[in-house]
Amino acid sequence: MFKKILIANRGEIACRVIKTARKMGIQTVAIYSDADRNALHVRMADEAVHIGPAPANQSYIVIDKVMQAIKDTGAEAVHPGYGFLSENAKFAEALEAAGVAFIGPPKGAIESMGDKITSKKIAQEAKVSTVPGYMGLIEDADEAVKISNEIGYPVMIKASAGGGGKGMRIAWNDQEAREGFQSSKNEAANSFGDDRIFIEKFVTQPRHIEIQVLCDSHGNGVFLHERECSIQRRNQKVVEEAPSPFLDDATRKAMGEQSLALAHAVGYASAGTVEFIVDGDKNFYFLEMNTRLQVEHPVTELITGIDLVEQMIRVAAGEKLAIKQSDLKINGWAMESRLYAEDPYRNFLPSIGRLTRYRPPEEVAEADRAVRNDTGVYEGGEISMYYDPMIAKLCTWAPTREAAIEEMRVALDRFEVEGIGHNLPFLSAVMDHPKFVSGNITTAFIEEEYPEGFEGATLADADLRRVAAAAAAMHRVAEIRRTRISGRMGNHERKVGTDWVVSLAGGHHLVTISADKDGADVAFEDGATLRVESGWLPGQPLAELMVDGAPLVLKVAKATGGYQLRTRGADLRVFVRSPRQAELAALMPEKLPPDTSKMLLCPMPGLIVKVDVAEGDEIQEGQALCTVEAMKMENILRAEKKGVVAKINAEAGDSLAVDDVIMEFE
């Protein structure tokens, strides 16, 4: 076995690999750029080598620099993680030349699977199901119909040069094929000046399901079942699970065996993933093979109990696979949520900055539940703009899918992240979405269910009542503490009442609390009573409660005159008032937030570099209005529609906060 390995990566995956290496008694070497000087993977590794400036193309993916680091530290093998150099045949070649083991497949496999056309050809030869289609060019409408019939409807007629949906038509019958061919051709000619057309099978209700394979260099291989990764946003995976709620044993076996056949066909030796697209009738078609460790590998590890990184290292060291296919059962269900530093309320704009608070839920591994968090960041660390915005992968495991989802809901509620925008609320919303819960999902899930973006989850009335009961009980505790202040007038202390009005999400709940030493019964006006038990103390930012026998986790922040409570993807402004206070609060005018549709708001904290327009200017849609510099990046803010500049509130050199009004339009 190797004594020392270098991890040619950063972030969570570098940390993930270091953990397994440490477990195996192998020394680790991290590499880091200027931006990662204080990164977690650097802190965790036994040694760390600086390899250049922040941009990856000047550091992490410069083969010479990585080779130098290997040489300097005497590492015997390299784990490339994912991304960066993980599927770079030249890197594998350089390692081979230097006599350093690559913890990944042979370079031939990387090369042949790295090319779309070659890989599809090899797949076909290995009898792997591929998307039926006619790769040649089509002469006329008659030929289009003929080929469509051969493939079988529905078909997708695509412009060879196409993109962005242009020159693309779906046809369900001969007539549509004929018309579609012509219109695609015209559109393609107009849009791209290239009217070549081809036709392939149109996959309906597509799901992204992939098979994990593991092969050694002695011709042995197993498949570790599937992962379903259909929850994607613009081809970026967001939630993954294993197994898939959709596959049956026969399909799973067929996919697994074909995947192995493909792996053997290219002499594969390491962990790899064969991606398929699966339609509503469980027909599956090969998409591509990823010749590396996948981001979402933990869900496979959780249902199989296999440490994939350990297996990769053993295979790279020349060991024979000790696992037989018959050993690989599917044990329970695993979910993975990817935590992205992206603000869901701002159309998932990447968010950078300091992680002022980062408290993942506690990791557990018990007989009937597990929580795992693969992370590359820590509280007080910096999220930079240079790398992937994914900062953690939160996984849960339980015997059933339902239970794994419930574990995930609670784990997400417990996850505290402050300082940057992040998608935790969105992940929570997905976990509560009926369609997701039913397992009836496709790769279009996010696009279809959140067509206007994400504006926070709304809680069902029953859940709002649970929050209201919790808030009332917590407020009572906080108020009692306030009455224990020193300097009170003896014998005339304030008595904290039992009746409270909880206002949240536009509704008001009158409740009566009767507290005992273990908790409180919160009675609602309609007679229903919810029992609230919690060890929460005033000031704690996370409240773990039992409400009516079920757990409720709230993130608690103070807001003027009340609280800001977050749970299950909802962000609630909550007021708990005495009946008299509530009666008077009801007299207060409702102030509408200012209409910002006629304003240009600063999208991020930054410095105004330049203002391109003047008051009174007529502006056109898309016209540059001003430039804001944030984190050394210049961002040009453009007009969303045409109009006239009424007022400019900022000038070059001003430093602005998020949502400051830069200019107003007529």
């Binding site: 002022t356 020193s486 304030r494 000031g539 102030k591």
Partner: protein, 510 residues
């Protein structure tokens, strides 16, 4: 017997009705609560004890003798906030527009005298059209009687003004002399002369809101210390402030049960200071992470944002915080920041509230506007305030402490009790670049030499150790342990005794 009880009840009913249903409805329509409703929100439920409910004015001019409502446009008395005594007056806009008569003023004076005698804060809720014109000079005399009491009470009991309606002309000077002024957005304004007079005299056209609204006074003039969305929010936040304040200068600041470990370490503070000395960071994060439960009551949040002032608790006890904010103007001191912080420090000193100072200051803001504006005298106010303060003073230098600003920010030389520095601290006369260009003027043409000199200067002075060698810094501490260190420091100062020499009063450069 029952008939006299009935009579009492009837009289009380009449007094509580204020200006009557129609005027109360009009008050509500403006988004404002009545004087009594406001008291209900300010005080613990059922704790209000009223004075002078039946006081009526004595004016006989202009037919005033025919209309003598009980209470005369102001509700006064005392009650408790979380069990602690406060005195309160609340002007009733539904009665003569809340205008101030001789008797109205006498009611206010009575509770102010009681507050001084018994040692409890005075909270004034202002909602008044101004002087009772029918009473002429008697009304003006009334104002002055209140002013005189504001002055005498200053530094004896905390005085808080909540502006919940108009407050114009001479009336503004009573709140002006209290410790804190809070306003309600969109329904309150304060000015010495109103928009009509402004237009006549200066031809400026301005709305009441622009001239003296909450936004103006919290962001531009700094007359107000905070603003809230409505009456309910404002009064709830005043209750929260009172929980930080001592009842008088004869008592210690209050202590409240706390649920935060004084020894709590926060590893994230070790990375708070960015690698690049010119990159800002948010000083509020430090304040939140040092204080009990992250609770920070900020004063003048929207004014002179280059300095932060407000109250936190450490081990349940109130501490005033003054901190440079590197996010704004690099945290430098200027006229506004000096005035804001000086007033805050003096409040703390007057009421024996210990002061924590967090320092990251590159110096004073240069420029003609600062010099013409008198930054010399205004900067001196902060220096003076720190130097005269006898309360426990703990200072932590996180990064820059340059030049005169180092001296000003509660340095050892101004009787700082504990002067800590983080390892990232740079205590020097100025930054390396500026210093090198002066010391090595002869080498200015030679970039290499200057670079070397700059590096030498940085190596020698861009650290806390030169100051620590001289004892100006008591200890260089790990950022993560700051909460523990300052908690222990303030704990050790609970028995501090320090007196300034006797004087009639000092002559702070106003």
């Amino acid at each position: 017997m029952s008939s006299v009880m009935q009579e009492l009840e009837a009289r009380r009913e009449a007094a509580r009705a204020g200006g009557g249903e129609r005027r109360i409805a009009a008050q509500h329509a403006k988004g404002k609560l009545t004087a009594r409703e406001r008291i209900d929100l300010l005080l613990d439920e059922g704790s209000f004890e009223e004075f002078d409910m039946f006081v009526a004015h004595r004016c006989t001019d202009f037919g005033m003798e025919k209309d003598r409502p009980a209470g005369d446009g102001v509700v006064t008395g005392w009650g408790t906030i979380n069990g602690r005594m406060v005195y309160v007056f609340s002007q009733d806009f539904t009665v003569f527009g809340g205008s101030l008569s001789e008797t109205h003023a006498q009611k206010i004076c009575k509770i102010m005298d009681m507050a001084m005698q018994n040692g409890a804060p005075v909270i004034g809720i202002n909602d008044s059209g101004g002087a009772r014109i029918q009473e002429g000079v008697a009304s003006l005399a009334g104002y002055a009687e209140v002013f005189q009491r504001n002055i005498m009470a200053s530094g004896v009991v905390p005085q808080i003004s909540v502006i919940m309606g108009p407050c114009a002309g001479g009336a503004v000077y009573s709140p002006a002399m209290t410790d804190f002024i809070f306003m309600v957005k969109d329904s309150s304004y304060m000015f010495v002369t109103g928009p009509d007079v402004v237009k006549t005299v200066t031809n400026e056209v301005v709305t009441a809101e622009e001239l003296g609204g909450a936004s103006t006074h919290t962001k531009k003039s700094s007359v107000a210390d905070g603003a809230f969305e409505n009456d309910v929010e404002a009064l709830s936040e005043v209750r929260r402030l009172v929980d930080f304040l001592p009842m008088s200068n004869r008592q210690k600041a209050p202590v409240r049960p706390f649920f935060d470990d004084p020894d709590r370490k926060d590893a994230s503070l070790n990375t708070l200071i960015p690698d690049n000395a010119n990159t800002p960071y948010d000083m509020k994060e430090l304040i939140h992470k040092l204080s009990d439960e992250g609770d920070f009551y900020e004063i003048q949040e929207d004014f002179a944002k280059n300095i932060l002032t407000g109250f936190i608790r450490l081990e349940g006890s109130t501490v005033g915080v003054v901190a440079n904010q590197p996010m704004v103007l690099a945290g430098c001191l200027d006229i506004d920041a000096s005035r804001k912080a000086a007033r805050f420090v003096r409040f703390c000193d007057a009421f024996e509230i210990p002061v924590l100072t967090l320092v990251d200051v590159p110096g004073f803001l240069p420029g003609t506007s600062q010099e013409y504006g008198g930054v010399i005298k205004h900067g001196a106010k902060l220096l003076f305030a720190y130097g005269e303060a006898t309360v426990p003073k703990v200072t932590v230098i996180t990064r820059k402490a340059y030049g005169g600003a180092y001296d000003v920010m509660a340095s050892k030389h101004l009787r700082g009790d504990f002067n800590y520095a983080w390892p990232t601290a740079e205590i020097a006369v100025m930054g390396a670049k500026g210093a090198t260009e002066i010391i090595h003027r002869a080498d200015l043409g030679d970039a290499d030499k200057i670079a070397q000199h700059t590096k030498d200067y940085e190596d020698r002075f861009a650290n806390p150790f030169v100051a620590a060698e001289k004892g100006f810094i008591d200890e260089v501490i790990e950022p993560a342990a700051t909460r523990k260190r300052i908690c222990r420091a303030f704990a050790s100062l609970r028995t501090k005794e320090l007196k300034n020499p006797w004087k009639k009063h000092d002559n702070i450069p106003l």
